[in-house]
């Protein structure tokens, strides 16, 4: 049995509780914590719950600010955020999405964090509360660090700038719904005239963490987004990822699906940009 389940009532209280006890397990929706608790794996641990902390608000005014505990079901229904909505809708099942949260999805790890590639493609930032106040950093920077959060820190919100350019989300899975991803790809392309001025390509579910593929983005920028540039971007993505075996797909298959879905995402985004 856990020693305590402390339910924060406000964002501030949540931040204080987490800062005061860096060893505690922080639980948002609980979709990964609860099965472990059931198996007795969290015996003696203290759990800080965010379910009532008021971190589940969404505001849209140009940028979209998503509270960390916003259910994926809500994200899936967001107007004007097609990339995020598509990714959220593809995760798990309806009854899971009412419980699983956006912030949890960022922290849960591969192959589950399907929201991460779209957020990377959209240059999302996260707000983190710690003992010394809050800090705002890009998700890309946060993912590049050893861990997304420092001990005692709390993820409070995700800020998604208005998308510039055209986007696409591709997901490869064994079933249309309710199956873990083999590969997820998010792409965003903005043109300035004919040439691509800005490109984002992010890939998830392939290695331990979702990642932006800078080499692929570089291969696209300045080009017209034709076959050759896309092929170069695919090649860059292909060499950047380190696919792994799991119960759903082998590394061999993942590698092929990376190529295919990166190509599809870039073609669609480049075509629409």
């Amino acid at each position: 049995m856990v020693s305590e389940y402390a339910l924060a009532e406000t964002p501030e209280e949540a931040g204080r509780l987490v800062a005061a006890d860096p060893d505690a397990i922080v639980m948002a929706g609980g979709t990964t914590v609860m099965p472990r608790a059931m198996l007795g794996e969290l015996s003696g641990r203290r759990v800080i719950g965010l379910a009532r902390a008021g971190l589940d608000t969404v505001s849209q005014n140009g940028a979209t600010t998503i509270g960390a505990t916003t259910p994926l079901h809500t994200v899936a229904g967001l107007d004007g955020a097609p990339l995020l909505a598509a990714a959220a809708q593809s995760i798990g099942s309806w009854a899971l999405r009412t419980t699983a949260t956006a912030g949890g999805n960022l922290l849960v790890g591969s192959p589950y964090g399907d929201l991460v590639p779209p957020l990377l493609a959209l240059d999302a930032e996260i707000t983190v509360a710690g003992a010394d106040g809050t800090r705002r950093l890009t998700l890309a920077d946060a993912l590049a660090a050893d861990s997304l959060l420092e001990p005692g820190e709390l993820l409070t919100e995700i800020v998604v700038p208005a998308a510039e350019g055209a986007t696409d989300f591709q997901r490869c899975a064994r079933r249309a719904a309710g199956a873990p991803s083999i590969v997820t790809v998010a792409a965003r392309i903005r043109r300035d005239g004919e040439a691509i001025a800005e490109a984002r390509l992010a890939i998830g579910a392939v290695g331990p963490r979702a990642m932006r593929i800078a080499e692929a983005e570089d291969a696209l920028v300045g080009s017209a987004g034709g076959e050759e540039a896309i092929a170069a971007a695919v090649a860059a993505a292909s060499s950047a990822v380190e696919p792994a075996d799991d119960s759903i797909a082998s590394a061999w298959y993942r590698a092929r699906m990376v190529d295919l879905h990166v190509r599809r995402a870039l073609q669609t985004a480049a075509g629409a940009a």
Partner: protein, 156 residues
Amino acid sequence: MTARAVGFALNGEPVAVLAEPLTTLQSVLREQLGMTGTKAGCRQGGCGTCTVHVDGEPTLSCLVPVENVEDRAVTTIEGLGSPEEPSALQAAFHEGFATQCGFCSPGMVAIASALLERNPDPSAEEIGEALAGNVCRCTGIAPIVAAIEDAAERMR
């Protein structure tokens, strides 16, 4: 003493339970409140047999600590109809041979009733999407989809 009193509305009636920290809504329903229609097929959030409604939202009761539903309204399969007065959906399930072993049926009915409340005329695709988290090993799913379509028809 680590147990905490938690009050919520169960099928329209107020209830209060004493629960150890992080006790699942599922086990409180099944073990303390006698609502054994909510099943425990995996307790990993993967089978859908424990689906209930929390403030109307379909929810996997194995993933939710009972503390989280304090002051909320929980509806279980028992609140959706009874053998004497089955809902249209329940009637469509039993009359349409949409149950075999029956273990998935309460969860199927729970998710389907949430769907029909929001969408009285769902397509087969929409029904399929709603059922994505509910496992049935016996029927081949198609009879369940057909029963939901039949229920939608009955309710119109």
